[in-house]
Symmetry: C2
Subunit: 402 residues, 2 copies
């Protein structure tokens, strides 16, 4: 078997943890498997490097910031190779130049384009464990790039695809994907399996142990992903196209408390109003989320949308600056809202799912602010105060703890 | 003018110092010069990385140690580019892969073989300051190597040669090359010029602000070197093949207190004895220095040699382990010796130089232990207690303070 294993910054945060990860990899290697390890930078290294850069330049050029950041993973991989050597196993660390991990040009947020697998395959044939720097690549100018959020996961999935690996294991500090956040919902249960699409919805709804980009890539290339803990031996959660276990109605409940709601009230009820509004927001590079438009009445309509709370103030400023252009009456903001979602491929063939969720909330006397649905997801906006109670009520209503 | 400027770890040890160096480089750049900057790792970074490695593996594989160490210079160069950007100047940092700084294969102590100047020239044409990682290269396996002691100086000289630079400035924490160590000899004077050969002797005798390898390379490629201070604007010392100022009898007095003397007494006076002795020492990778062999008497002879004090104990162990093979009577060690040398191309045509030195020591009642000479150097071994008095006496005798 060829196994790609990815460990995040916390898992390699200290020399002791590096030794632990090394032992775990050597175990698989000693069973005769080929092992490729992808690592992030140690613990807080990335933050420290950014801090150092900012002491010199408040707005450092992105090319140079990537040049700086990529040293973080190089430190991790070389130390890991030393750790494996101390266990008597041959290992070799490789950075983005050595693999030839080609990306698009965009510094700080590049996309992987092409991985040259020759060097890795050559080292594997030589019976070495191969340790690759996550998060980084090189662009057509032969400059370092970084992959943005969740970058090391993406590196691991891309390598698994390029090498036709039998498994791609993402190690994290949780045991896998849960039916709800275990810190909120005591009866939350770890899922044995989940589909890529379900995971994508869960990830974008704030329950993500995995970043969407890596899940999308896994789906695209059919890479079977396993999310599991680096702290214990529990089996984790398997992500694939179709789950093999019997289909449950829903897979999980996700909660996102970081959303704010903005309502633009009294807009003219005529074509192009929504376009102008969201075009202005999009130009400021703000991602908006759930959108709801009221039915027009008295020649006016209201548009509400949610967005990450760190963008709320900027969005408000932009809207006020464009008041005359957008011609609305006023703006209402609610910062005390939470997004509660249920996700599951099962709901596609079960029309009663949304109603069941609403009933559970009604029984708890929880008011619903906005509703938005997709094929495998129902999202409601509720008051933050009700959030945790709501998660538990919905989790119970769908019998996710059984 | 194309100027290569090299700054060591102390000069880039903090964000403030990095800004200082940046300003100094930008000054030259703004006058219309092309500027290439070579940097070492920040302050204690290299030591810290080695310490981190040793926490994981007491004997880390050298390939992986180089992979780890090379991150140090990459941090320096990217931060320097950010500093120059903050001063409104375009700059680009390049590592050994990006330049294509090819070396021999040997990790930890590689030799530069070939520098590809295309990328650097292209960036210079684009009116950028180019900042290159010192000390590092890549070998034929596309693996990082490091150049060993004085590596960043070597990088700077090699780049100056490859780019046909008009000047190569080595910035350090002293003002230049002095006639003697100013901490010991108050009347020591900074030399305006010195020849490569003189510098080579001074460097190997412990007075080295420059490592021999970089001086040898400068000599080989005819690169005019300037050693100057990163702390002030003083002019520094120029190194070239022939000095243009009127030839002085000697250029400087060097003192090395780190030497020990070992005497092997009562060896059989027959061929092969010296060979066997030094072969055994060399196999332990110990560099010995001044060698003196007594004239044979009563069928036996004595051999004395000096060596760095950190190797003395190991050398003694080896000699005792080989007592029966070497057939000597006993060993005498003196750890309280100092090596005092005078260096100068002028002495080649002036036979009285050594005598003048001996006279100065005699006048101070300083006993000479051993004597060794080369074409442009006289070295004597004296008691450590006499060392500083001896430096001043010799310095005065040759009128180096005038």
């Amino acid at each position: 078997m060829l196994i790609v294993k990815k460990f995040g910054g916390t898992s390699v945060g200290t020399p002791e943890r590096i030794m632990n990860v090394a032992r775990r990899c050597v175990e698989d290697f000693s069973k005769g498997n080929d092992v490729v390890v992808v690592l992030s930078a140690m613990g807080k290294t990335t933050d420290e490097l950014i801090h150092l850069a900012h002491r010199i330049n408040q707005k450092p050029p992105k090319r140079e910031l990537d040049m700086l950041m990529t040293t973080g993973e190089q430190v991790s991989v070389s130390l890991m190779a030393m750790a494996m050597d101390s266990l008597g196993v041959r290992a070799v660390s490789l950075n983005a130049f050595q693999v030839a991990m080609r990306t698009t040009s965009r510094y700080g947020d590049a996309r992987l384009k092409r991985i040259d697998s020759d060097r890795i395959l050559h080292e594997l044939e030589d019976r070495k464990i191969v340790i690759v720097t996550g998060f980084q690549g090189i662009n057509k100018y032969d400059d370092y790039t970084t992959l943005g959020r969740g970058g090391s996961d993406t590196t691991a999935v891309a390598l698994a695809a390029a090498l036709h690996a039998d498994a791609c294991e993402i190690y994290t500090d949780v045991d896998g994907v849960f039916t709800a956040d275990p810190r909120i919902c005591k009866r939350a249960r770890k899922l044995k399996e989940i589909t890529y699409d379900e995971m994508l919805d869960l990830a974008s709804l704030g329950a993500g142990v995995l970043h969407n980009r890596s899940v999308e890539m896994a789906k695209k290339y059919g890479v079977t992903l396993v999310v599991r803990s680096s702290l214990n031996r529990s089996e984790g959660t398997i992500l694939r196209e179709e789950t093999t276990v019997e289909r449950m109605l829903i897979s999980g409940v996700a909660l996102d408390k970081s959303a704010d709601r903005i309502s633009v009230l009294g807009l003219k009820d005529r074509p192009g109003v929504a376009f102008r509004l969201f075009d202005i927001i999009a130009k400021a590079n703000i991602n908006i989320d759930v959108i709801l438009q009221s039915i027009g009445r008295d020649g006016t309509k209201d548009i509400s949308f949610t967005l990450p709370d760190e963008n709320a103030d900027e969005a408000l400023e932009i809207l006020e600056a464009n008041k005359s252009r957008l011609q609305y009456q006023n703006i209402d903001v609610n910062k005390n809202v939470a997004k509660l979602s249920i996700v599951g491929s099962g709901m596609m063939s079960n029309p009663g799912v949304a109603a069941k969720m609403f009933e559970a909330l009604y029984n708890e006397d929880i008011n619903i602010n906005m509703i938005s649905t997709s094929e495998i997801r129902v999202t409601v906006l509720i008051d933050t105060r009700d959030a945790e109670r709501a998660v538990n009520a919905v989790h119970d209503a769908f019998g996710l703890d059984e």
